[in-house]
């Protein structure tokens, strides 16, 4: 179970229009927010428990949702342009 590590986005407008290509290293984002998450998650868990939610169940559900994102793919090839999105 791995969260998304890389995102590739490509947008092109046909007929000499703009071209936009982006490789987004999401693993850097996870590394950046990890220390912040370690500090804030216990507080968030306490608040959720106080509000009547089951924090562990909630975190597990969101984690499984996040880890299911890799492999998502969107490709639209139209008359005006091209959009490509892939999550690794």
């Amino acid at each position: 179970m791995m969260p998304p590590l890389m995102l590739r986005l490509q947008v092109e407008r046909f007929g000499g229009g703009r071209r936009f290509r982006l490789w987004l290293p999401l693993f850097l984002f996870w590394l950046l927010i990890l220390p912040f998450a370690v500090v804030t998650l216990p507080v968030v868990a306490l608040v959720l428990a106080f509000l009547g939610y089951r924090p562990l169940r909630l975190f597990a559900a969101y984690w499984s949702l996040l880890c299911a994102i890799p492999g998502s793919h969107l490709e639209v090839n139209g008359r005006r342009g091209f959009v490509f999105l892939h999550v690794y």
Binding site: A61, S64, A68, P70, V76, R79
Partner: protein, 143 residues
Amino acid sequence: MRENRKQILDMLASGRITADEAERLLAVLEDGPKTEALPARSFGNPKYLRILVEREPEGAGDEETKVNIRVPLQLLRAGVKLKGLLPEDARTQMNEALREKGVDFDVNQFKPENLDEMLANLNDFSIDIDKKSRKAKVRIFCE
């Protein structure tokens, strides 16, 4: 077969589909599924839900439009599990919104097993859309 026919007639009676649409659906039901044109696929352990849309060009100078979407089935399963964490009020609001759109569906009754069953039955689903000069083909399947 009889059950499907009754369902189509019920949808026509409740105004969810027009007489033309009902006629087309009944014609498809009588002809039976056209599986010979579709490629054989393996459904041992599908990982993705694939949606393909192909639209023919409208005229000279126009290009074919293609849409290719691949959604991990694990994402759908995780989404269904999240449903259990939604507050009761939110689920009631969702049910009401669906009912307003003519979809008689109870979110509370939907379970992860239902999703697996639905995906297993989805097999290779294909819809042909013919609207005036614009022709499109939508295919939904698991891979």
